[in-house]
């Protein structure tokens, strides 16, 4: 199983080649860890926020915009679980409004353009968007 080998140097002895390996290792580790930041620094390109297609007949989503921007994925997952698993199809918003839990019925009735809404932000922030792999894609028109 294990072919011939040279016994390693005694404990505690650090040789030149050891050091070389250590430095290389540290360098590789640093590059891997810092890569995203370095990439962000050197990558040129448009960093202005994506422009989203928003419904003209409503000023606010079911919760405050700020909350939705930050937490829509949490909310959607919660909706998913309560609707699919517990059969609960009503959601009470912060303001006390009762909203129907339905991706197609509620969300899409306003945000009916995947390409100009969901995808814009997700592409911008490079986050995979998986809802529309299965749910009927809102193409908008």
């Amino acid at each position: 199983m294990v072919p011939g080998m040279i016994p390693v140097k005694g404990k505690g002895v650090r040789t030149m080649s050891d050091r070389k390996f250590i430095y290389i290792g540290i360098a590789v580790l640093l590059i891997v860890v810092l890569y995203p930041f370095l990439h962000g620094m050197v990558a040129s390109g448009d960093t202005t926020q994506p422009e989203l297609y928003l419904p003209s007949d409503a000023s606010e989503c079911i919760e405050e915009t700020e909350y939705m921007t930050a937490n829509h994925m949490v909310l959607l997952n919660e909706w998913r679980d309560t609707a699919v698993r517990e059969g609960i199809r009503e959601y009470t918003s912060q303001s006390g409004e009762i909203i129907k839990i339905s991706l197609t019925g509620t969300c899409i009735s306003c945000h009916g353009r995947k390409d100009e809404f969901c995808a814009r932000c997700h592409d911008y922030s490079n986050v995979t968007l998986s809802c529309w792999n299965c749910h009927v894609t809102p193409e908008g028109n």
Partner: protein
Amino acid sequence: MERSRRRFFRDAGAAALGLGYGLPVLGTGCSFSEEGTHTEGDPTNQWAMVVDIEKCKRDEVRAACVEACNRAHNIPDIPDPDEEIEWIWTEKYEHVFEDQVHDHTPHAVLEAPVLVLCNHCDKPPCVRVCPTQATWKRESDGVVMMDMHRCIGCRYCMAACPYGSRSFNWRNPQEFIAKDVNGEYPSDYPTRSRGVVEKCNFCVERIREGLPPACVEAANGVSGGEGALTFGDLADPDSEVNRILHDTHTITRRHSLGTGPNVYYII
């Protein structure tokens, strides 16, 4: 919002816990106290179906049922029988009721076509084995549910189902769903992705709206098919299914296994 936050922390906590050995047990405790066991136990209501084999002998009746289901649930039409997805389909009597036939059973009976689908068992083996609760028995009405978001595609449930009622998506099913002229799927029921298991859901999306399952409606729409399939609640003493079960001799598939199927057959 509070609720979201709580859930988030719970999930994040569980994820962190899950990383260490021994700790999953703790996570289990937490999840159990929060979610409760959604598995077995007596549901308050229990949807059931009665299939009249005689009335289903006509090809048009069965075809209408299968077609209605396929369209209602965007079921792909995969030509390779090894990868076919089936929710409701036809099998020969001798295969469906293996223990009801013998050497002298007439050929016509052996070959008789029988509609088969998920039995929404009282004690579903698929639910018992699923490691993620992606499939579970709904307490409110006894439907054996599937959560396509959660299924990891281990296919343990397929090994456990004694009726062959479960299909795995070996490949991306969407390419095999016929779209109409506008490029749209037959219905807005979510399609499935590659790598998950699916099966008949007793049309939960329709019974929620007070409609009968698509296959039942379709059978009733074919002349001569009226009453081929009957759907109703076993907990309701006045339901049509209860009336039939009370008056007629019906059988279920592989009764001796003790799974307690809720699809009954009039022979």
